[in-house]
Amino acid sequence: MSGVHPDEMMTIAASRVLNSDDVCFVGIGAPSAACNLARLTHAPDITLIYESGTIGTAPDVLPLSIGDGELCDTAVTTVSVPEMFRYWLQGGRVSIGFLGAAQLDKFGNINTTVIGDYHKPKTRLPGGGGAPEIATSCGEIFITMKQSRRGLVEKIDFVTTFGHGVGGPARENMGLKTKGPTLMVTDLAVWKPDPETKEFTVETLHPGVTREAVQETCGWPVKFSDGLAVTPEPTELELTTLRDLQARTKAAHAGAA
């Protein structure tokens, strides 16, 4: 399909892995767009939770922050932040945590804290927020981010959020019972961890994307699945729904109502 922007492909591919039975802890940005696109297309009953305490939200436009008013207006219920983290996240009630990343390594460990040394940072990033415990408490973790050599790196500067550690059985060895990262959707491809090594492996390339394009935007030697396939093209419905959502969002955030 011509005219599909890689960001759109990323959001659409990510939305497809969600379904109506999922209870999804949503990070702001690309995860939020994917989750809401899923809700507006094939997963109308998906439960979206934002860490501001809004459970089961159905916003008409994408929130700018995790605590926009519409999240509460459309929620099944809105709880306090301690309750959100204690009963709902730590309580193991969330099946999928959907995270973005500033830096990521091949085992799905995430850095959103600093570029450079922690105590003398080159760039101070926002920090972990909910991610460290989202990553260990949710049934599994989906990651979505745009590929770049600055983002997908051999060694991240700081382990904000534990993925598969050094790979293999690292999570079990830490006593974790949850699956950790099971999927990554980028603007170029869909990745899944190797069942043994846990190294992210490309499963499908988005339409028109080459292996070389993936490797050029990734800081480690990329592994491709033996059954490497092409991500299905966006459908008309997916693309229209996403574009309408983005347009409504842009209008709403531009200024006063």
Partner: protein
């Protein structure tokens, strides 16, 4: 019982140089007017705590009021990084800034434990996370039943907390609705609590029995400041001024532009100015 008084008096009576202070709000109900009053009064050497320090903390840090920041996410939500906080951490401008960094779960548990009068919060957390290695205030205890290692953090117990809320009644009871965030915990964990409200009503007879109400005797001061959350919002009163959050990114990018903006919009302003700022964001009545 809460003293119902002007914001200037409440800040003067309750915020002191060197205090451990929270100006809480989780996107919703951020007490901008109270923080701006603190800036005007020139308080120094504050240890500022908040789960999600955003642009109003960027302003306080940029004005040199803070010696330390305790937080779990420091950013302009949906927009980007905080440039004044970065300048302080990366370059020591206008002063160096000590940080104590946690995860949201830890901070939420720590405020909760503070409200509950406990010295620590104990929870499954920080597994595999490097923060535990760079923050000496993240320790652990061993479960005496199973031997499992659990994270332990000090409870958050500010000297004083500032929050914004929808309304108070004449007795000084306070009602908070919508995204209630960590407002109740911030008030109950603190030694003193100042609440700005949109209005004071006669009574709460029509309020839901399980709504989030802080009784007057749990609050130190109540101040009427319509629009006091702007550019944050107050559910049922006015919406979020998203454009102001976006605009902050540019304003804060340059030290001089930042200072000029603060002079015009904060130092030369007063608590009476907020009502006007939210006029175009008011909900339909």
């Amino acid at each position: 019982m809460a003293k119902i008084q002007p914001l200037g008096d409440a800040v003067a009576e309750n915020l002191r140089d060197g205090d451990f202070a929270a100006f809480e709000g989780f996107t919703h109900l951020i007490p901008h007017a109270a923080a701006h009053e603190a800036i005007r009064q020139g308080r120094r050497d504050l240890t500022l705590v908040r789960m999600t320090p955003d642009i109003v903390y960027d302003q306080m840090v940029g004005m040199g009021m803070a010696k330390k920041l305790v937080f779990s996410y420091v950013g302009n939500p949906g927009v980007g990084l905080l440039r004044r906080v970065r300048d302080a951490i990366e370059n020591g401008w206008p002063n160096s800034l000590e940080i104590e960094e946690h995860s949201h779960a830890a901070m939420a548990n720590a405020y909760e434990a503070g409200a509950a009068g406990q010295p620590i919060a104990v929870f499954r957390g920080y597994v595999g996370a490097e923060l535990a290695e760079v923050n000496a205030n993240i320790k652990s205890v061993t479960c005496p039943f199973t031997g499992e290692k659990l994270a332990a953090v000090r409870s958050v117990r500010p000297d004083v907390s500032f929050v914004h809320a929808q309304k108070a009644n004449k007795k000084g009871d306070v009602l908070i609705e919508g995204i209630i965030g960590i407002q109740k915990e911030a008030v109950l964990a603190a030694g003193r609590a100042v609440v700005t409200v949109e209005e004071i009503v006669d009574n709460f007879d029509d309020v839901h029995p399980n709504a989030c109400v802080l009784p007057s005797w749990a609050v130190t001061a109540v101040c009427v400041v319509p629009g006091g959350a702007h550019p944050s919002y107050t559910h049922g009163y006015y919406g979020r001024d998203n454009a102001s959050y976006v605009a902050w990114d540019e304003i804060s990018a340059d030290r001089d532009r930042f200072k000029a903006w603060m002079l015009e919009n904060v130092l030369d302003a007063s608590p009476d100015d907020y009502a006007d700022r939210v006029k175009s964001f008011r909900s339909a009545p």
